[in-house]
Structure formats: structure tokens, C-alpha cells
Symmetry: C2
DNA sequence: TCCATATAGATGCAAATGCATTAACTTTGG
DNA sequence: CCAAAGTTAATGCATTTGCATCTATATGGA
């Protein structure tokens, strides 16, 4: 009953801003990486998760949970990363279907190089535009827009 | 000199939230459209701009400015829209290169149907989560992150 | 134990995207 | 008036995405 079919003007505006700004910023960061001859952002996301996971690595399905990429997307992304020597696939003992993905030294190095560029983009695109308090407020507000884990 | 190479933790968090939430919400809205048997969001953006432009229509390059799509992207999207009878391409009198794109009655109807679903998504995904004041605050903060028109 | 069902990950094929280039004009400057 | 440069839009080709399906293994009952 509290469901509204038509959004308020404030909601429409916030939505439009969110979509437009996030796209602009993403493209801007992507551009900076490309200009530096580095791989796209998607690679960073995966390398980042794997780096955080450490020696134990992660199963592909865990990467899917963490990154929100589609299953086939991860599957192929990992194939590319492996072909580039940035990750390695290890068989997993107690589950013959699966594999464990671990970042290689080369993968860590690539991530480091990407962060030098990506981090600068973040600093310039958001860090330089809003105060720490404002950034915290943005995070808090956006946090309330997150979707519940799964509507299944 | 005021350039920071490394972003603050607040900036990183805000960035991460922005990217993740915008992607989630976008996908959610996209999903709702697909479930209703309607075309993707990109089509809505174009139909919306054209509907606002009225009888005069818009030139493709104007659509590019307004929607931020790449040139080749618009070119092909318009081809698809035309094939579906949602827009029509008219030669433009004073410039033999160009064309004017005008939305058809069918295009307006499709946009209307899409808005029924899309608007509901916006209402549920953001309108129901934050107050009007909070939404206004989000818009204002995000507004400060917009990129200057063109760094060319 | 054996079968039905579920889960992990890969893949064939169609559609969409990105990139570079091209074709068809317009505009500008001499 | 003409040549050079700029603009508008389309397109060939490679890469990526999306969808559905498929293979292989695991699990949970009868």
C-alpha cells in the first residue's frame, strides 16, 4: 500500500544524477587507465579481491558474489587474466568441479600499477571535490540505497 | 600542488559505494524492463530526449551531447529505433550531411509504457529509501562531482 | 546404492560495443 | 572560386557481453 508507482521529482532527479555522474566518473577513470596503457577497471576489481584474499585465493563463485559480475563474465575474465599470467587456477581438493584462483606476483604488480592511476583518478574526481564529511555523507546516503542481498 | 595522488579513505569509500550502488540499481531497473518485455534503458533515454524536443526533433549530435552515448553507439541505436518504427529520420534542409530525428506516435507510446515500469523502479529503489530532503542532498552532492563540459 | 536434483564453471552463438576509418557534406581562408 | 580543414553520420572489423545450454561433479533422498 505504501508502494508508489510514480516517483517524486526529488527521486527522479537523484536517480538521474546518480546514473549520469557514476557513468561519467567511471568512464573518466577508465580513460585514464587506457591512456596509461593499463587494463580496464574490471581487471582491477578482480585483482583487488584476489590480493585481499591472499594466498588462499578465491573460488570463482566467491568472486561473483564480491564483484557482482555475471558468471560467464567472470569465467572469461579469469581466462584472460590467466592468459596474461596475472592469476593462476588451482584445482581444489574437496570439490572436483571447482578451482581456486590465486593472484600471481605479476598480477600483484599489475594491480599496483593500476592503483597508481586509478587512485589518482579517485582523488581527483571525488576526493578533490568534496570534503571528508561530505564524502562520508555520500557514502551513508548511498549505503541506504543498496539492495538487500538477494531477492530470490 | 594541491593534487593528491592517493585518495583519502573517505574518497575511496564514496567512490566504491557510488560505483557499486549505481550498477546495482541500473541493473535492477534494466531487469524490470526486460521482465515486462520492454526495450533496454538506453532506448528510454533517447526516446525521452526526443519526446522533450517535440516536433522539431533533434540531430544525432545533439542526442550525443544530451545522453553521453558515443557517436557510433547513437548511430546504431537510432538505426534500431527506426527499424522498430519508434523514430523517423528526416533530411535537414540547411545541412546535407545531417538528419533530424523525430519520435513517432509509436515511439511515444513505447516510452509511456517504459516509464510505467521505469518510474516504478525509481520510486521503489530510491524514492522509498530516502526522504525528499535526503534525495535533494544526494542530488546536490553528486552535482558537485559532475565533470566540466569537456576537457578538450 | 542409485537416481534425481543442485551447483560450479565453460562455451556456442547472437547481439552490442569500441576503435579506427570512411563518405558525404560545409566552412574557411586565400 | 577553389583547396584545405572541419563536421556529421555510417560502417568494417575485432572484442566483449548476454543468453542459453552443456559438462562435470556433488548432494540428498528413496
Amino acid at each position: 500500500m505504501t508502494e508508489k508507482a510514480t516517483p517524486s521529482p526529488e527521486a527522479i532527479k537523484a536517480w538521474a544524477r546518480l546514473m549520469r555522474v557514476s557513468r561519467q566518473l567511471m568512464e573518466s577513470a577508465e580513460e585514464a587507465l587506457k591512456a596509461a596503457g593499463l587494463p580496464p577497471l574490471a581487471w582491477y576489481d578482480v585483482l583487488h579481491e584476489l590480493a585481499e584474499a591472499g594466498e588462499g585465493g578465491l573460488r570463482p563463485f566467491q568472486l561473483i558474489e564480491r564483484t557482482l559480475f555475471a558468471q560467464y563474465n567472470i569465467s572469461r575474465l579469469l581466462a584472460r587474466l590467466e592468459a596474461d599470467g596475472l592469476v593462476e587456477k588451482l584445482p581444489v581438493a574437496d570439490d572436483g568441479r571447482g578451482q581456486t584462483i590465486r593472484v600471481t606476483a605479476s598480477g600483484r604488480e599489475t594491480r599496483r600499477q593500476m592503483w597508481a592511476v586509478y587512485g589518482r583518478s579517485i582523488a581527483e574526481l571525488v576526493g578533490a571535490k568534496l570534503s571528508a564529511d561530505e564524502l562520508t555523507m555520500v557514502s551513508a546516503l548511498l549505503g541506504r540505497l543498496r539492495l538487500p542481498p538477494a531477492g530470490d
